[in-house]
């Protein structure tokens, strides 16, 4: 054994070291991945949450012209039983040019609700009652002239005054950019029940 320390004796094989370092780094990153990926996945919604993911709403108690709110995944879901007169206002708002997005081009609703009713069945509006501006809960204001002299019925948000028609399409001059979101749901008109299944992934809640 000599008294010198390492390094001065032979030149290290730099390429080999680089190559081995690369191998160790890559496989080490893969090892870290096998730990980190499950860790992040473990924060996904649990099976218990998934079991609570759908909600069934009974339509029987909702009289024409009335509405009902159910809590679904910590969010209010509103169901409105729209009368023919109320449905007629939907054409009127569009014709008067009051709406930002009358044809629902922004995918705030599943494709099967991309129509002026924004619903599967014209009478029954099913939507999430959360203002597209900053997440407040708008009031349901079905009576004409109840918010302004020209008001045809719809939703009015107490926070910053966003206005929506009876299909929750946003009215020009509101701070909210888009129509209110509609979740995915199934409706059975004969059995009078709605099953809300999940959020429509493209829709922006607020």
């Amino acid at each position: 054994m000599s008294d010198e320390t390492q390094d001065n004796k032979h030149a290290p094989n730099v390429t080999r070291r680089r190559f081995l370092t690369a191998l160790v780094t890559v496989s080490g990153a893969a090892v870290a991945g096998t730990i980190v990926v499950p860790m992040v996945k473990s924060l996904d919604p649990t099976a218990a949450a998934a079991a609570l993911a759908t909600t069934t709403i009974d339509l029987n108690p909702i009289e024409p012209g009335m509405q009902m709110v159910a809590l679904w995944q910590e969010k209010p879901v509103i169901v409105v039983n729209r009368t023919p007169e109320m449905l007629a206002t939907l054409d009127e708002t569009a014709q008067k040019g009051l709406l930002k997005d009358p044809n629902c081009n922004v995918p705030q609703q599943p494709p099967y609700c991309k129509n002026k009713y924004r619903s599967r069945v014209p009478e029954w509006y099913v939507g999430i009652k959360i203002c597209n501006h900053l997440c407040c809960i708008p009031h349901y204001r079905p009576k004409k002239a109840s918010v302004a002299p020209w008001w045809l019925g719809g939703f009015h948000c107490p926070c910053h005054g966003s206005m929506y028609d009876l299909s929750a399409r946003v009215i020009k001059g509101s701070p909210a950019p888009h129509n209110m979101a509609v979740p995915e749901y199934d409706i059975d008109v004969e059995k009078k029940s709605v099953v809300v299944t999940k959020m429509y992934p493209l829709a922006h809640l607020c």
Binding site: I35, K41, T46
Partner: protein, 404 residues
């Protein structure tokens, strides 16, 4: 000015890197036992991560605790992985702690100038016992319930204030959801932070005086012309790559346990952990987890309540004074055959006590338990004498090392 210069100018990190990694000179003759320290660091980090993720699903109430803990396994994606990592991790940490401490005893690492390193380390071990105990209670299984009841009632033996302390710890007359609340808080905040702080100081104090080695000779006594110990090598890259290899081996073992023997024959995860707390039905026999059972065996060895508790406390505290019990100028037991034999008997005895502590409290075990307690205490009592008079071999002038 490049960003690097800008950053380096105002950062302590490069200096810390040099001090603790690139220019920390460690003896070149570390053997396999020296992996345990870095593996403990790795395990503490993994324990923190898995703990964070099981905590995210845990509800500390008497009604929901058990269901929420087992819900992790059934309902959370990869919940079983987080849970088994956390449960099996505890046992692996204690295995490493015992290897790490045994290493220190074999090579005299507790001796001057590393007394404080030893004391901080041993305090960490005690903090881990507390951390493990609090964690044990959280699932609120029947084992949790009765282990919690038995251990907290030990405090009753404290003179005068025992009763008050017990109630304070439990948050009531007995175990309840309130106990869970405070144990959860202790487990995830105070005790955990104490452990982290102790580990940091453990390493800082070690790096101040430098590492010992299996030959027990001070490498700093023999410096080369460059001012570095001739038998020292920079921690980085030599020991960092070596420890990386150690990580690989250890993680392979860890993964094999998690995937193929997650309860490890119900040693790492006891059967009674899988049934909810039942205040009306005590366990067939309350035995502690394997890593605490040597002390439990000593508790049972004495047929007198307070006597047993005192013996246990003394046994737990004895290692603190170890640095001052050893009088021999030679550190490593490589050159002290008698101490080495005593140590080996001490280690085997510790294993036997662990085994005995797991047995049901039958009279046939009393004698071996007492014998084990005597051997345990005798080691510490005899060490000052033996170390003073034992014959030693002369340690070499330079560390023993064969180039690879």
């Amino acid at each position: 000015m490049s960003f690097k210069e800008w950053f380096v100018k105002r950062s302590p990190l490069p200096e810390m890197w040099r001090e603790h990694m690139a220019e920390y000179y460690a003896p070149k003759n570390f053997n396999i036992f020296y992996y345990a320290g870095s593996l403990l660091l790795l395990m503490v980090v993994l324990q923190f991560l898995s703990g964070f993720l099981v905590m995210a699903h845990y509800i500390p109430t008497a009604r929901d605790a058990y269901d929420s803990v087992y819900g992790i396994m059934y309902d959370v994606h990869y919940g079983w992985l987080m849970q088994y990592m956390h449960v099996d991790g505890v046992s692996l940490i204690f295995i490493l702690l015992y290897i790490h401490m045994a290493r220190g005893m074999l090579y005299g690492s507790y001796r001057s100038p590393r007394e404080i390193v030893w004391i901080i380390g041993y305090t960490t071990y005690l903090a881990f016992m507390a951390e493990a105990f609090f964690g044990y209670i959280l699932p609120y299984s029947n084992l949790s319930y009765w282990a919690g009841t038995v251990i907290t009632s030990l405090f009753k033996s404290i003179p005068f204030i025992g009763h008050w302390v017990t109630t304070l710890v439990r948050g009531g007359a007995g175990m309840s959801g309130d106990t869970l609340g405070r144990f959860t808080a202790l487990h995830v905040t105070v005790v955990f932070l104490v452990i982290v702080g102790l580990i940091v100081f453990h390493i800082l104090y070690l790096h101040k005086v430098g590492s010992n080695n299996p030959d027990g000779i001070e490498i700093k006594a023999n410096k080369g012309p460059d001012g570095h110990p001739v038998d020292g090598i920079p921690f980085h890259p030599y020991y960092s790559v070596k420890d990386l290899f150690g990580f690989g081996v250890w993680l392979t073992i860890f993964a094999a346990i998690i995937f193929y023997a997650p309860t490890f024959h119900h040693i790492f995860l006891e059967r009674t952990m899988s049934t909810p707390a039942n205040p009306l039905k005590s366990l067939p026999d309350v035995t502690p987890p394997w890593y605490l059972s040597p002390f439990y065996a000593m508790l049972r060895a004495i047929p007198n309540k307070n006597g047993g508790i005192i013996l246990m406390v003394v046994a737990v505290l004895f290692p603190f004074v170890l640095p001052w019990l050893d009088k021999n100028p030679v550190k490593s037991t490589r050159y002290r055959p008698i101490t080495r034999i005593m140590l080996i008997i001490f280690f085997i005895n510790f294993f036997v006590l662990a085994y005995l502590g797991e047995q049901p409290p039958l009279p046939k075990y009393f004698f071996p338990e007492r014998l084990g307690a005597v051997i345990y205490v005798a080691f510490f009592v005899l060490l000052p004498l033996v170390s003073k008079f034992e014959p030693t071999r002369t340690p070499p002038a330079r560390v023993r090392f064969r180039a690879h």
